[in-house]
Amino acid sequence: MIVGSRGHTGWRALAWHALLILVCLAMLYPVLWMVASSFKPESEIFTDLRPWPPGFSPRAYIEGWFGLQHPFGRYFLNSAIVASLSVVGNVIACSLAAFAFARLDFPLKRLWFTLMLGTLMLPYHVTLVPQYVLFQHLGWVDTFLPLVVPKFDAADAFFIFLMVQFFRGIPRELDEAATIDGCGPFRLYLMVILPLSMPVLATAAIFSFIWTWDDFFGPLIYLNDAANYTVPLALRAFVDSSGRSEWGPLFAMSTLSLVPVFLVFLLGQRLIIRGIATGGLKG
């Protein structure tokens, strides 16, 4: 905390707090209103501006849950499978690559590292069509594989970069001690580096989860059968199929789809904020 000349006390502090609370409420108002509306009777959604519900009617949730061809549980399960496999893939593959860059010596290391950094800036559109052709030839279209397998090949270079930074901060003396004790590189990675890197691994896991949970473009391209839809795709199908006066069920399912991301945020907000502040990870 900053103290001294910029700290405020008494009435002035109170005024600043009041202003901040007002700003926070204004910013969250649309989301709060959506959550409230998901509990309101359909006819009141249009007229009721209050960001809290008059009661808790689960009508819209029941209607929404069964509003599409499959119950929404199916889509949540699909999303959960894709997101959790992506988390596992990213954490394993990126930490392996980061360990090589941070701790091992091999020819062309600098070249690979530069190329890895280069892929950070690359818009995925320039690889989109050939990747699609490749996955189509492999018969992977309309499966989760195109969404998950690239994660096991450390395709998200951002996490490699983040982990390299972190691994470099771990004292070299630990490696040397372990090497003298007869540790090979793999045991060094597994028994020394990884246990000391929980914060960065958790950060990578959290962002992997949020990004894949919210991902719309990938599933849109690769998933066709409604049974394979992830939650964002299902919501999109729901928007397209609902008439203009059926916002209740839509809001209910939208609200539910935000819950996992919100929970992850509650549990990991310190890591998320630090990941953004130091690594520029987008939220």
Partner: protein, 313 residues
């Protein structure tokens, strides 16, 4: 690399004997990434560059047509022109507005008040949630004819608002508003930057009689330029790639009358709607070049406006 010990004590010997191994070990650890790099990044990049000179519909093998795709883009495709300018307008409005908003709120937060981390988390939330389909759905309702904005206008002022999202004059603006609302992550980065500025600088300037505006212009902003630069590059790249909100709100069309036809949305329509994969690849490469140009311009001009702490000019 550990420094080589000059003596040949047993551990050093053991280390030397293992010298060969880390060589192979390095590539073993890097194998998944290398595999992905060649098969999913480098190879496809070359592939799409090649495809951008072909006509390709996924069914027939690609047909070499030289520069025809690029020619069509620049001379004979009004939708490309529309998409290009829609995206430019989107980026040119949403990035500066979002950064200004983020900086203002970061400065509001950086006052040494209690509960900073609580406020920061709350204000970050729109940024966390805003890119999702769920929020795009919400936006579609809010700016629809009988949406939240119009019911507020009606009950507060008795005004009948238009349908914002289906009016080509306002549709893009609603998307810009959605993007500016996601000011959270640049705000967090600004806040971290603000807290690096030594308090003594403010004190010294205040003793010299600087008012709040002078403090901001002469102390805060110059010292913050590296962070502004970082945010600017990151957000610009991101906004060029925007897709989901336009897709959801316009139902995949980019309408009304192509007023929300984001570049990526047009690319998707060409590639995966009409299966003009060669044309889509050419569009992708142009996007790459445009993003690269913006980034390069930011880096090249940075020496004129970004001040680093150890700068002695």
């Amino acid at each position: 690399m550990p420094p080589d010990a000059p003596d040949a004590s047993p551990p050093a010997l053991a280390r030397r004997r293992r010298r060969r191994k880390p060589w192979a070990a390095g590539y073993l650890f890097l194998a998944p990434w290398l595999f992905g790099f060649f098969l999913l990044t480098a190879g496809p990049m070359v592939g799409s560059l090649y495809l951008s000179f072909t006509g390709f519909d996924l069914l027939q093998p690609p047909r070499w047509i030289g520069l025809a795709n690029y020619e069509r883009m620049f001379t004979d495709d009004p939708r490309f022109t529309a998409a290009f300018w829609v995206t430019m307008r989107y980026v040119l409005f949403s990035v500066p507005l979002k950064l200004a908003f983020a900086l203002a709120l970061a400065m509001l937060l950086d006052r040494g008040l209690r509960g900073l981390s609580f406020y920061r988390s709350v204000l970050y939330l729109p940024s966390l949630l805003g890119g999702s389909v769920a929020i795009a759905v919400l936006w579609k309702q809010i700016f629809g004819y009988d949406g939240l904005v119009n019911s507020a206008l009606y009950s507060l002022f008795g005004v009948d608002g238009p349908s914002w999202i289906s009016n080509p004059d306002y549709a893009l603006e609603t998307l810009i508003a959605l993007r500016v609302w996601q000011f959270g992550s640049p705000m967090v980065i600004f806040l971290a930057g603000l807290r690096q500025i030594p308090t003594e600088l403010y004190e010294a300037a205040a003793i010299d009689g600087a008012g709040p505006w002078t403090l901001f212009r002469r102390v805060t902003l110059p010292l913050l330029t590296p962070v502004v630069f970082f945010n600017l590059v990151l957000q610009t790249i991101d906004d060029f790639k925007a897709f989901t909100p336009a897709f959801i709100i316009s139902g995949g069309t980019g309408g009304p009358v192509d007023s929300t036809l984001f570049y990526t949305l047009y690319l998707y329509q060409e590639g995966f709607g009409y299966f003009r994969m060669g044309y889509a690849s050419a569009l992708a490469w142009l996007l790459f070049v445009v993003i690269g140009t913006f980034t390069a311009a930011a880096f090249l001009t940075s020496r004129y406006w970004v001040h680093y702490a150890d700068d002695r000019r």
